[in-house]
Each structure stands twice: as C-alpha cells, then as structure tokens.
Symmetry: D4
Subunit: 253 residues, 8 copies
Amino acid sequence: MDVQRLKSLLEAVRQGEVTVEGAVERLRRLPFEDLGFAKVDHHRGLRQGTPEVVFAPGKTRAQIVAIAGRLAAAGEAVVITRLAAADAVAIRRRIRGLRYSDAGRVAWLSRRRREPPLGRLLVVSAGTSDIPVAEEAAITAECAGCAVDRLFDVGVSGIHRLLENHEQLDRAHVIVVVAGMEGALPSVVGGLVSQPVIAVPTSIGYGASFGGLAALLAMLNTCAAGVTVVNIDNGFGAAMAAVRLLHQLGRAG
Amino acid sequence: MDVQRLKSLLEAVRQGEVTVEGAVERLRRLPFEDLGFAKVDHHRGLRQGTPEVVFAPGKTRAQIVAIAGRLAAAGEAVVITRLAAADAVAIRRRIRGLRYSDAGRVAWLSRRRREPPLGRLLVVSAGTSDIPVAEEAAITAECAGCAVDRLFDVGVSGIHRLLENHEQLDRAHVIVVVAGMEGALPSVVGGLVSQPVIAVPTSIGYGASFGGLAALLAMLNTCAAGVTVVNIDNGFGAAMAAVRLLHQLGRAG
Amino acid sequence: MDVQRLKSLLEAVRQGEVTVEGAVERLRRLPFEDLGFAKVDHHRGLRQGTPEVVFAPGKTRAQIVAIAGRLAAAGEAVVITRLAAADAVAIRRRIRGLRYSDAGRVAWLSRRRREPPLGRLLVVSAGTSDIPVAEEAAITAECAGCAVDRLFDVGVSGIHRLLENHEQLDRAHVIVVVAGMEGALPSVVGGLVSQPVIAVPTSIGYGASFGGLAALLAMLNTCAAGVTVVNIDNGFGAAMAAVRLLHQLGRAG
Amino acid sequence: MDVQRLKSLLEAVRQGEVTVEGAVERLRRLPFEDLGFAKVDHHRGLRQGTPEVVFAPGKTRAQIVAIAGRLAAAGEAVVITRLAAADAVAIRRRIRGLRYSDAGRVAWLSRRRREPPLGRLLVVSAGTSDIPVAEEAAITAECAGCAVDRLFDVGVSGIHRLLENHEQLDRAHVIVVVAGMEGALPSVVGGLVSQPVIAVPTSIGYGASFGGLAALLAMLNTCAAGVTVVNIDNGFGAAMAAVRLLHQLGRAG
Amino acid sequence: MDVQRLKSLLEAVRQGEVTVEGAVERLRRLPFEDLGFAKVDHHRGLRQGTPEVVFAPGKTRAQIVAIAGRLAAAGEAVVITRLAAADAVAIRRRIRGLRYSDAGRVAWLSRRRREPPLGRLLVVSAGTSDIPVAEEAAITAECAGCAVDRLFDVGVSGIHRLLENHEQLDRAHVIVVVAGMEGALPSVVGGLVSQPVIAVPTSIGYGASFGGLAALLAMLNTCAAGVTVVNIDNGFGAAMAAVRLLHQLGRAG
Amino acid sequence: MDVQRLKSLLEAVRQGEVTVEGAVERLRRLPFEDLGFAKVDHHRGLRQGTPEVVFAPGKTRAQIVAIAGRLAAAGEAVVITRLAAADAVAIRRRIRGLRYSDAGRVAWLSRRRREPPLGRLLVVSAGTSDIPVAEEAAITAECAGCAVDRLFDVGVSGIHRLLENHEQLDRAHVIVVVAGMEGALPSVVGGLVSQPVIAVPTSIGYGASFGGLAALLAMLNTCAAGVTVVNIDNGFGAAMAAVRLLHQLGRAG
Amino acid sequence: MDVQRLKSLLEAVRQGEVTVEGAVERLRRLPFEDLGFAKVDHHRGLRQGTPEVVFAPGKTRAQIVAIAGRLAAAGEAVVITRLAAADAVAIRRRIRGLRYSDAGRVAWLSRRRREPPLGRLLVVSAGTSDIPVAEEAAITAECAGCAVDRLFDVGVSGIHRLLENHEQLDRAHVIVVVAGMEGALPSVVGGLVSQPVIAVPTSIGYGASFGGLAALLAMLNTCAAGVTVVNIDNGFGAAMAAVRLLHQLGRAG
Amino acid sequence: MDVQRLKSLLEAVRQGEVTVEGAVERLRRLPFEDLGFAKVDHHRGLRQGTPEVVFAPGKTRAQIVAIAGRLAAAGEAVVITRLAAADAVAIRRRIRGLRYSDAGRVAWLSRRRREPPLGRLLVVSAGTSDIPVAEEAAITAECAGCAVDRLFDVGVSGIHRLLENHEQLDRAHVIVVVAGMEGALPSVVGGLVSQPVIAVPTSIGYGASFGGLAALLAMLNTCAAGVTVVNIDNGFGAAMAAVRLLHQLGRAG
C-alpha cells in the first residue's frame, strides 16, 4: 500500500465518506509491499497485533538485512528468530539498536514500550537444554509488549522443584511450557492450574525422541484437558498464541 | 473429600482461622473420592473451571451410570463424550434430565445457566464429516457456560464461503477450527483474524490421511503464527482450552 | 523330558556320577515336551523362576485347554493372559480350580503359596482405562509368589493423588507403572523413588496416541534415569521383569 | 543412435520401405548411447517432448560435464537441476552458453525458441523459502518451450494476496503450486480454478514438518478434487507433468 | 443462489448491464445452498466442469438420499462413490434412474450425453484387486463426459501384457494408472508414453504395504519424469484431474 | 539447600526434634542449587543412590566445567557422558583427577571406593561398534560402586561365542545387553538366564535400521519374558537401572 | 494361448522352422487368457517353474472357483492361499480333489508327483503362532515338487531347542525361517549354516510389533550376512524364492 | 583357535580318533581370536564359504589395518566395504596387494582364483547413482569366486533397455537387482526370469524416498513371486546371499 493510497483513504475518513471502522477494516486486509523475494507486511501489527518476525534459517545475511532494514525504516518492531551468533554480529552493524540473545538465538528491535504490559506470561522449561526455545518464546512475547516471568529447569523427574514455585504459576495469565524428552511437564502444569497452557515440544533428546516427536506426541495426548500444542521447537509460535490471547484480555479488561 | 472435612474447613473459614483464599487453595488441591475403579473429582470445576467429563469408550454402561450418577447426585455438571446413541438411550433412563446430541455423540446434564455467558466461542468446521467433532466441542463449551456460534462446511476448496461470514469470525472471543483431510482451514482462519485460534484435526479422510495424521501435521506446521493444536478428534479438549481462556477473560473483564 | 530320563538323571546323581550342580544345569537346559503345535516347557519354573504363561489370542479354546491342562496335570502353575470372559467360562469347566479376573482378563491356577512372599511389588496405574494391563501385571506377579500392592488412577494431571500415597511407594521393592495417553507417570514416579521402576505403556488413548506409541516413546525418553520399559500393554512382561529382580533379592536376602 | 543409423532409417522411409509411423515408433523406442556410467538418451525429446535433465547431486563435476557436453554436442537442450553455484561456475567454463539461476539452482542450455510457446504455465509459491523449488519448475518449463508466469509469496495465512491476483490464475493453462509447511495453498488454488493444478510439497519447515512430509500428506488429502501431487521438492517433475499436458494441448489446438 | 437472484442476474445480462463474462464469473464464485448438515454446491459443474460427487462413507442412507435427491431435482449429474451394494439397492428405490456398478462401488445419474466426448481417458490397472478403484475412476470420468478405455490386469511382473497393448496407450489423451503392491506400473507406463500420466496407489496388498503406503511412496519416487500422484484409492480424484485436463484440451481444440 | 539450612536440620536431629528418618526424608525431597542455567542437585546421590551425571551434548565446555566443578567442589562423584575426546582434554585441565575413556566417551571423577561393591553387573555387547554404548554403561556403573564384567562381540550370528561364556552370565546379579542391527542378543541372553536383563538398542547399522529403531522394536518385542528396555544408545540409563536394582539387593543382603 | 496356436508352434518346431529353444522362448513370453476380471496365466509353470497361485482375500467364492476351475481344467497345479476354512468347504464341492490345510489356510490341487523331488527345503518357525505362515510356505513348496522338512517352535528364547536339531539344518538345500515378535531367529540360523536362508517376518505380536514391522526391520538388519527377506506373512513368497533356487540346483545337478 | 589346538585336532583325525566330518564340524563351530576390540573369525570361510568382510564406517584406519592385516597374515581373503578413497590410499600403504574400487568404495585382497568360478551372477542396476551399491555387490561376489556380469542403468522408465539385454538375464544363475527411487526394477526382472532374484534397495532419491524406504517397501511388496530383499544399500549382503546359493549349486553340480 503506497502513501498515496493511504492518504486517500485517510482523507476519505476525514470527509466522513469512510467510517473509522471501515478504514481499519481495509487497512487490515490490504497492505503489503513487494521486495521481489518476499512480500513484507507492514501492517501485520495492525491486523494481528504482532510484529513481523523474520525466520532466519535459509536466508542470507543480505536478505535478512534487507527485510529487517525495511521494517525498521517503517518504524516496525522486528524480531529475527533462529539467528546464529555470527550472523547477529554482522547484522547488528547494519541495523542500529538491534539487540541479541545468545540463549534464545533471537535478535530484536523493539519500538513499543507498553505500559501497562499486555499481560503476564510465564515461560516454564523442563531442562537446561530447552532454554533456547524457552528464551525464543520469552523474548518474542516481550517484544510484543508482554510482561514475562521465567521458571526454568523444573522437569518432572524432580517434581518438587515445580511445586515449590506455585506462586509464579498462580499469577500468570497464560503459561507456556517448554519440554523435550518425554514431554510430560505440560500435563503436570495443566493439572495444577486453571489458566491457558500452551505446550512446546523441543527436539532435545536422542534415540527414540526422534527429533522431538516423542515429546510432541506426549503433549498431544495429555491427560490434562485444555492444554494446546504448537510445533516442535516453535517458541515463537507459542509466544504468538499467548499474544493473541492477551490481546483478548486487553480488550476485555 | 467427605462432607465432614468440607464442613470443618468452611467452619474454619467462618471463624476466620482460614482465609477465603486459603480455603480455595486447599479445595483446589485436595478432594477426590474413590469409586473403586475411578477416582471421581468433584471439585474439578472449582479447581479448573470445568465440569467433570466422562470419556465413554472402554467403559461399560454400568460404569458410566455409576460415575455420572455420583456426579449428578453431587450437583455437578456432567458431560459424557463419544457416547453411542444406543448407550445414551439406556443411560438416560437412569439419569434424569440427561440430554443427548446425535450429531456430537455427547450426553450432558447442565446445572449451570450462566448469565452473562463465559464469553463467545465460534466453532468452525471444514466439512460435513467433521461435524461430530465440532459438535462435541460446541456442546462441551455450552455446558461450561460459553455462548457458542457454529459455522460449518466452509472448507478451503470453497474459500468464498468462509470470507462471506467474517462477521461471525469478528465477534468471537476465541475460535475453534475443526478440519480433516488436508487440515488447511485453521491456517486460513488464523491469517484472517487476530483472536486465539485452536485447531482440531479430525480423522476424516482415507488413504494417506492416516487417521488424521495428515491434518494434524498440517496444523502443527501452520504458517499462521499463534495457532495452537489439540489431539486428533479432540473436540472436548479444544473446548476445554477455550474455557481456560474465557475464564481468564472473565477475571480480566 | 519324560519320566524315564528324569529318573536316570537323578539315579546318576545319587550314584555320584553326576553332581547336583550338573543335574540342575542339565535340567535347566533340556526339558520340553512336544504337543504337536507347541513345545510345552515344564521346567521353565526351574530355569527362570516363573510359571508357564499361555498367551490366549490366536489360540482356540481347545488349544488353550490342551496346553493348560497338560501343565496343570504336571503340577505347574498356569497363567493365561488376554483371555476373553466367554472363553474363561468355557475353559474353567475343563480345568478345575482355575480362577479368572474380569478386570485383568487373566485366568490362573496357582500352586505355589509362597511364605514369605518373593518380595513386594507395587503396581501403579494412571487412569481407569489402564487397569486391565495393571491387573495383568499384578495377578501374574501374585501367581509367581510376590506380594502385590495396587495404586490406581493417580495420573499426572492430578499429581497430588500420587504425592499423598508415598508410603506405598516407599515400601515396595520394585514398582511397575502403567500409563497410556502421554505416558508421563513413570517419569514422575522415577523421580520420587530410588527403587527399580518398570514402565508399561498402554494402548489407551485416541488420535495421535497411535495405539500406545506416544506413551511408549515418552517412557523411553524419560528424564528419570534408570527407568526401563516393556512393550505396549505388556503387563505380563513387566511382572516377569519384577520377578527376575525379586528372585535376585531372594538369593541376596 | 548414431547419424548413420538415423540416415538409413530415414532413407528407408523415403523409399517407402518404412512408413512414417513406423519410423517414429522405432525412434521412440530405440536410441540411447553408452557413456560407461550412464546411458544418455538423445531422443527423449522426441519420445516424450522433453529435454534430457541431469540431476546434479551425487555426480562429480567431471561426470556432469561429460553428460551435458555430449548432449550439447548433439544439439540437445540441457537442464541441470540442484546444481551448486560453485559447480555452476566451473561447469560453465566447459560448456559455452550455459546459463545459471541462483534462485533455482538450475543451469540450462536452451536450443529451442518456441513460437508460439507450448502454452502458459503459472507457478505459484507460498513463501520466500519455497522459491528455489518454484524456480526449478519455472526454468525447466521455460527450457521446454512454455511461457511461464510467476506468482510468489501468496501463502494462505494472507489469503487476500492470492485473491487479488486471480487474473494470473485465470489465464494459465496449467498451474503448479509450490508450498512447504502445512501445504494448504494447492487446496485453495484448486478450489478457485478449473484448470489442472499440480502440487509440489517442499521440505521447508521444521519440527513436525518432517522434511516436507506434512506438506506432502496435506496435498494428497486435498479437499479440492483433481489436484495431483509430485514428490517433495520436485519442481522439475512438476514442470515435466505440465509439459506432458501442454503437449497434448498443442496437438489438440 | 435462489431462482430470483439467478433471474435478476440473467436479466442484467440481457440488458447489457452485466457482460456475459461477468455473469459467468459471479456464477462461478457464489452459489451454494444450505441443507443444514452440508452446503450443496449446484454450480460446481459450471465452476470446475465436474458434477457434484457424494462420498458415501460416514453418511447415513437418509443423508445420501437427501443430498443426491436435491442435486437430481436441480438437474445435476450425481456421482456417489464408495457406496455399499446394499445401500445402493435402498437408494435406487428413492432416486429414479440411478445406476450402480458393483465392480466400482459407484452409483451415478448422468444427465449429460456429451458429443463429441470431452476427450479420451485410458484407465490402466495392475491387478484384479485394483479394479474397484479403477472402475471408480472410469465411471466418474464417464459421468463427466469422457470417453474411457480400460486396460486391466497388466502388472509389471508380466510386462509383456502391457507392451502388447500399446495402441490403447497411444490413442489416449491422458492415462490414469492404478496399482497396489509395489506401485511400479505408472513408472513403466510413464516411460513408454509422452501423455500425462496420473498415478493412483491402492491399498491392495498386505504386510509391509501398510495400507497402500508402499505404492504411494513408489509412485512419488517414480523415475519417469512428469508422472503425478493422487491419494491412496482415490480413483475419483484421478478422474477429476483428468477432467480438468481434458477441459483445457476442449478449450484448446 | 544452603549450609545454614543443612545445619539447622542436623541440629534438630541432634536435639531429637527431628528423627533420623525424617531428616533423610527431607533431604531426599528438598535440596537443589541454582547456577542460573541449570539447577544442580547435590543430594541426588542421597535420594536415588546415583551420582549426578552431566550429558555433554549441547553444553559448552565452560558450562560443563562450571557444573562439574561445582559438583567436584561439593565432594560429589561426577560422570560426564557423550564427551568428545578434544573436550575431555580441555576439561581435564580444569578439574583435577578427572579420568576419561576414549572407548566409552565418558569422563568421571569417582569419590566412592565401595567395599564390598554394590553388586556384580555383566555388560554384554553384540558387535565391535556397540562398544561405546557398552563402555558408557560399564563405567557409569563402576562410578556408582558396582563390580562390572564385560563380554563384548558375542553377537547372535556366532551364537557359540555366547554359549561358551555362560560362567560370566551365571555369576552376574544383573545383565545389561547392548546390541544394534537386529537387536536379537537380549532375547537369546534372556532365554539363557533367570537374572534381570536390561536391553540397550544402539544406533549402529544402516539403511532400515533407522538409527536404532529396528533394534529398539526387536527388544520391545522380545519373546524372552521379563527383559526390559531403555532408549537407543542409552548406556547411562541402563547402568542407572542396574544401580537401582543393586541398591535393592544391598538392602536385602 | 489356445490349442490351435500351440499346435502350429509345435508343428513349426517339428518342421525345423522353429528351434526348440525358440519355441520355449515364445511359450515363456506369450500366453495368457482373459477371464474378464483376471488374466489367467496357464504357462507360468513353464515360464517360472511354479504353479499359478490364487490369493484368496478380496475375491468372492465364485471368482476363486472360476479361476481355480479353469486352471484345474487345463491340468495345472493350483494353490489357493489365505483361504478361510468355511470357503474351503464350499470350494471343495466344486473342484474335485482339492485338499485343504487348516493350519496353513491353504488349499491345493497337485498334479505333479516329482521324483526325485526338486530339492530339500527346511521350514523353521519360532513360535506356535507363526505356524500358519510356515505351513503356507511348506505346502506351497510341496505343491511345486520340493521335499519339505518342518522344524517348528524353536524360538531364540530357548536356543537349545534349535541347537539340538542341527541335523535337520545340515541336510536342507535351502532354509525358510519364519518368526514374529523380535524376528531374531533368522540371524541365529544364518550364523549356524552356510546354505541360503530366506526370512519371513510374521504379524504375530502386539503393541510395538506394529503388525510385523518390528520383525521385518530386525530381519533386514540381520548381522548374519546373506540372509534375505520377503514381505510380512508372505510364506508363499518365501516358498517361491526357494523354488527359484531349487530349480537352479536342478539344472546344475 | 591357536595352532596348538588345530594340530591336536588334526592329529586326532589322523589317528582315526576323530572322523573327517567330525573335525569339519568342530572347525565350523569353534574358532575365533580376540583382538581386544573385535573377535576375528578366521574360519568363517570354512564355515560359510565367505571371506571375512570389514565394514569400514565407525572404525579408525588403525583398527581397519589391524583387522585386515591379521586376516591377510592368516592367508584369508579380505573385503573392506564402505571405505572412503582417502582411507583406502592410507591403508594400501600398509597392506600389500590391496586393491580398491572408487565406484564401489570397496577394497579387497583376493587370494582365491577359483576355476571354474563358483557360478555366474548378474548385477543389474537401475540408475547411475545406484552404481556404488551395485559395484559393492559385484566386487564382493568376485572376491568370493563368482563370475560376475554387470548390466547398469536399465531403469523401468526406459524398459526397452532391459528387454534388449535378455541374453545376459538368461545366462545368469542368480541375479542381484539394485534400484533406488521407486524400486520397481526387481519386479520387472522377476517377472521376466525364473532364476533367483535378490533385490537391493538404495538410498538414492530425495523427498519421499525417505533414505531408501520407498524402494525397500516397493521391493517387499513385489508382485513377482519369489523375489527376496536385503537391507537398504546392502550390496555386500546381496552378494553373500548369492554366494550361499551358488555354493549350493556347486555341491549339486
């Protein structure tokens, strides 16, 4: 959507020819811009309440810089997931203000400082090895304006660790539970709390974990009713699901 | 938890020896009752905001009557899922007021008439064959106090059917999308709306659908960020996830 | 091994031509008897400390009666697993003293009344639907001379139920944990106790449980070190593993 | 088939000793030439209307040069698929006129300049990451004489992008739809148009995409009747299927 | 789309207010009618050139009669696939003129007698057991106006049978190849001919055929370039793919 | 658990306010210490009778040194599994006394010199390639105080090799059997002996071994009753299972 | 191939116009006869040295009688596999001399009484439940003229049973080994003997046997070099493989 | 087996205390020698008619040299499979006379020059990429004394290539057929010939070939009766199966 069309639309709104609701509706459905290799969607924030997220694997540094730079220039929040540390160093030279988390392999440029926050998300993880996925979820949610608590390394073989931290469980509006291996943690958490629980299987494990399949199947078969699941290692997707939910809370509140 | 213990606890609350919060906490963690073959959990509603649900397959009519009867006697809402029509006829003779839906293979006894409703859920289904699962979700959610809209037979091979109904999409607080075969509908819905979307794969299909595996994998790999997934044919689970979420809305509102 | 050969061997022992150890060795390796369609192994008890177990599926009633009758005539303990109730009625008419458990689908004829028992086994199960497999394990172990405790319906979505029963966990020499769906219970039990834990996945569940595969993979990927696994629904096998272990305890004690 | 044999055959046709149909038949069934490690088939173009295509993986540069050079010397069109950029540079030094597409990892030497083109193919792709496969399809088809339109990055989570481009859909004779992740795009396209639709799953995705299996299963289970599928990442195969079809159009036209 | 709206549209065409192309476009995108449990699409023939097809499994006789009757009343061609013989007898009493094929488990009511036919389809099958799927494809295509040849029981273990029938191969515009077990026939056919080849794996076989998976994988991995594949046992889908293609031929011719 | 809390507890024991059993119980359930990225569990030895084991893959050398160093400083036994030789060299510079086995890729620091040993474990392996997993099991068990015998390269295709070594089989309290490829060895061993047998599938093999899946399935389907299984390549887990068992023997003895 | 054509061919041979070799060649490649639903191949015996075998599942009794009757009338040997006992009774009324084995679910009509036999086949099976498949192999081979020994119920958990019967192993020209569950027996046999060993996995087992997949994978991964495998439950196929081999022996002898 | 024991045995033979047959028997069952990491079996040739084969992957050069050197010193034939070219260069410096095939990745030291050869093996391969596996089979068989013909690049999409070479098919005693992708070639060959056919699936292909699984399943489901299968890429195993068979021919001849 070019500037001209945007102006026309807004002018129409001013003239009363288009209602505000109508203009929001058209903005939600229309605008994207062609970079040749990817159609960048500047108004996704407006349409779904989320920043554009760049999935780094399979893209060259030049492509990442081009996409992220265009978004940054447009004043958008940017999140780049699965970004190698070496790539992050190179890209940060090109995009000022970009921050990077080694633990979560995520880079971000956050324009929004939301007060009050969108809501409170708790990210729980089972083992040390699940932290990259858990951090990906946590940082993505923070970039979208959520307040995020972290409760890591509380796997089910030492269930007392989880039980000792029930205050953190209680105060969250939504809980993301990240686990590899047997993927049992979301069932236990889902049985302890009444809030929404989003389970993220990770590819942590070996042998018959089959790249996270074991944890994924376990989570889908949870005996704790109402736990939902996202793809293996998809910390970003879990955060987005939490954001969808917290946006609804925001409207309700 | 027997009556005696419940009385003692409530008395203690009255005396100020136990705070209300403390009593809720203890009630949430403790009570279940032993029927010999299954521990019935009367206070699950209190702990997680949901009625006890009886999964019929693998249980005899006598067992179903025993469990459901005990719950009914305790004044609980009861939902029995995957119940064959013939079994429903027999069981309804034993439990007064039990209703049954052929389409959803669900029987229920709903004590709660919630005003205002817990929130508004939209259940979308792709094809005629997905309706049993969609109805299981819809009725379960209604039993838990939700207002439920239905939008059925709007699969992606006739995408115009979905687009024509965007008002229904817009007014829902949360959307459950039920689809078999290629499982593409949640991705399309997830791209159109900003609300939480819970995807339910169904075992509808043949050949390489592998009992719903194709739809399940498609939904886990959705390109619409923030869509979450429950197990194949798990309409009940999707409803419970929606209820968890709507409870949070209720607290926020 | 016919009586004649047995006599000759024992005579040789008496004469000092064969040592006692040598005779035990030969008895452990040799004897089986041909029924035409199955080689019945009378001395398995001697060789492995277990009764002969007849796996009913795929056998006709006549075959089951023939095998079990021959064993009974030889004074052996008999266990028949996965036996339909209707078949049990018919077979009990032919073999006096045979008992049958509906819950476990097991028939047995127990000759040994072991005092003191071989050791103490605890069988834990996650849900009501797992009871047939749990009972198969429990009864098989009882037939082999074990003292067996049962702790049923203590699944991980209500983890407090398990925690309240830690006395039973503590006093067992070995624990068999039976669970379907997400198969998380052995990990939690394995983290609570230091005894041997044998996990049995069950085919309970639907959709992406894939006939118990989800639970099986979860158990193989347990984060609780030292938990071992047997085949799906193999309550009998878990009992036999416990018996192997308790025999070692017996020798040590 | 060497020139001498070809001449003899054609002479025989001229003399009336062999009919034209007979000669075409023999040419279609006979000729290939032995390079030791691969039997190069010069008349495949004649037999199936397609150039010989060299699949680069697992072949050394020397082998690729030998095969491609022999084909070039014989005046054949050559397409080399899945060719790494570094290999392309080396091979282009040896075969004059060879062109290379980074985006599609394809090298080609196109002898035929077909007027009018064989027909019009539209290649649609869901995401940026699917472009290599889409370009492989597009370039292969162009080498075979097709006119090719491209419509990239129109995935189902932003379905409006596709709907806005229906003119391109309408004017194509055949449509190749390339998609990874949930593989839903062919179902949507197949529901919008009445032309033949060939679906290509890609290995794009992670976690439970299982190297493109999720997209493949989704496409096989499409609810849009008459959509057909080729192997994962097989852009070349989809192009060949389109060419088979357009050849039929050419004969009909 | 009710009659009123159809009349208005056609009147507008007559008045020159809507062009013919515009009217076709609107008819292609709009009309469907709600039966409560299924949205029947009367103009699918117009939109995609195919009759509405009713997939019988999972539907009651009453539902099938309702859907098929409504279509018949509207003058549509009807095809009912996977229909058991007993059901066919019952349904034929309700819908006059309905025909039924035991071999293909298909019932149909064909209104169109197309002259000349839409084109020529050859259906090839590997074994006797593949005939139901092959007949489903053949009859569906005939109902859509195609001329259909059949070449059955020409599997690859007796390759001479196929080679003797190359005249039939040569005169087809498009070939559907149906095979179970190792699924090799499409590769052989695809190597012999230059026409489009659509492969249909069947669930025929046992053991490691895994319900047709072996044949499906084989066909997807065909070494004959340009062969496309539909779902296991999906004779209907293969026919629809052929119809899409023959419609294009019709436009070109 | 910090020193202060430990002192208080022990003081309470001394005062008679807490019994010895009670103190053991509290120590078993409570203490862990936060390193930021991993909660190190000093008293696991006390709780489960095993040293803390560090699984090296996915951890940096710095992380391994930090965890192992903290454990060493606390006087704990340390076992580091799946440790590359190069990493071992680097880490040994930082932790004095650390030993390393190339064959088993295990490093360890063993504080306990147990007399008499905890019991006798026999580790049997099928082929040369299975030795790393077998050694991982053997060394882990030795660190936990077991006496370990090794019987390597006695696969079932040369069954006489195994039969010749039955003395070693006979004197073990528990047997760990490690095998890749067809995974048949545990069945043969399980049929020869009456002791507990723990089977470890390895990822040794190629083609249809699918990374050890073939061996895993074989072991789960063993016809030798009472054989249990751990995850693919999980030598450590098998050792831990043996240790759980031998601890029980120790209590019984 | 009708009698007339056969006579002409043989006459041509007599006249010296066709050589004997040429006639055999033509007979091997040409004749089959069309029954409408199946092309019966009368000379398969001549072409491959085997009788025509009718696979009963999916065929009606009438179809089986038609095919088998035609073959019987032509003087061919007939083998009908996977035939239910009830069907056998009905079919034997129609085809005189047909024999039936309950154990192997095979019916046969054997014309050839081969002296000396084609060679000596040993069929070994692991358990009682594997006997149907083993008998299918044994009877099929006997119908093709082989001498067959049977050695049943010698599974690897009682390896001594096999070792005691090495004379039978030694005198066979080829050995078929049938096993379900963990499928280990072919590896053990293959290590004991130097003759060809053909392994047949059976679908016997439960849980993670996955319909014989576990045994199949085990056999494909055998550590005994030179063991080959046929499909699950394919006793017939194993017999045919043995017959191919024994025919070669016959020519060599 | 050391020299001393061998001498004693042979002396006993000479004295008539042990028969020749008895001595062969003992030699067949007994001898192997311990290198520490692998038990080298010098008399495997005697026991199974095959040279010892060293599978290179996972072994260090030093280990390969040690094993192969010991065998060479003992005068054994040696075959080393899956050996990288660089390793071959290094190893050939240590073992004189070792030869290496780049195409087959096999090194060998052949002591036996068998006249006449053991029999005639034909190795057929479908594509250029299958040659490494085909050569592994061919060279292994040559080392074992077979005469080997090669017929490469005759895949089913150009079936005429195979039909033109039927002389080679006819003169073979046994045929090994190597194919990747859809794995159809063994079915076609098996239908053309009456000799034993051993199928070898290769991991050649991409996408849904799943590392050779597609070809493996196709071969197991072959419609050509009596074709047997070995593991994916197992050229060595196919050769060993052929050798077992040709040894039987040799005894018969």
